[in-house]
Subunit: 179 residues, 2 copies
């Protein structure tokens, strides 16, 4: 088993943290080998950015993601830039409040109103990354929701644990509604 995940969006949306949480959850609570990485060039300023996680049963030899199995897109720019890196038949999860891509036989598209739901339920957008991470986990089942909650608790700033666990529940519910 080898599974490649990409979070994409714009700077400040917390996609690195989402990606780090997924990597540690899979390693520590699901006994997998994982590599988490991001590449940046000067064009990252204001542009589309990405953070990748490779999850595998074996130690990961080549650490660069090449055939993405599942991708989250939190901005239109990022969706445009990275959609071609998706494997045939891969999963795309978009924040349908800000991103629109056509249906296609090449991928399975999940349109989730993540921003508006996060804002509505939590009063701010700060946990959008956790909402999207949890939606991805729920759709792909790459790790369990329990493992995810434990890794969130380990990783977020002290005092924000229950806020972020709530965000994870919102993401899970959104994903279940979309299926």
């Amino acid at each position: 088993m080898k599974y490649e995940v990409r979070f994409s969006g714009s700077g400040g949306q917390g996609i690195i943290l989402a990606s780090v949480i997924l990597g540690t959850a899979a390693a520590i609570y699901e006994n997998k080998e994982t590599v988490q990485s991001q590449a940046y060039g000067p064009e990252a300023r204001g542009g589309a950015s990405k953070a990748d996680v490779i999850i595998s049963d074996e130690p990961v030899g080549y650490p660069k993601a090449r055939e993405i199995d599942a991708m989250v897109c939190l901005s239109q720019k990022a969706a445009k830039k990275y959609i071609t890196s998706l494997k045939k038949g891969g999963i795309v999860i978009i924040d349908s409040d800000f991103v629109d891509i056509p249906e296609s036989k090449k991928y399975k598209l999940f349109k989730l109103p993540m921003s508006s739901t996060t804002l509505d339920k939590m009063g701010k957008l700060i946990a959008l990354n956790i909402v999207s991470l949890s939606a991805l986990v729920s759709i792909t089942k790459i790790i369990s929701h329990e493992a995810l909650e434990k890794a969130i608790t380990d990783s977020v700033p002290k005092g924000t644990e229950s806020f972020n666990i709530e965000a994870a529940l919102i993401g899970k519910t959104l994903a279940e509604t979309a299926k």
Copy 2:
């Protein structure tokens, strides 16, 4: 120019964040290409962990660090585990409050009492990662202190910016004293 940096320590010391800040600082404020990554296996639980940054003038083809130019060690376990990954003549910066390795012709060793100084000046250890990052920047000069401060301000939680900038000054002063 290609330069490989490794932060090593134990879980919860914030080495991923230190590494992410260095990567973004070099990319956004120094016009470099960078890749930041961490690999975890199940052994990461309680063991030695690492986070790597490759900084280059050219896009980074192979994203895995192989010949470390400069390394920070915040735990004895991590120092033991990763010292052999250092390039001949490389730089090692240890938290001398908790780490002890022998002097050697193979590397340049900087022993900085980072934990005790951080605790003494700031009242808590939470910014140890920023102290060590700033010490590394000051010793290696891989980016400017100004670029570092900007990237810190971009990356840390809102409201903690000046606290973390203070930590960066402590790391800089420690490094200058050690030279």
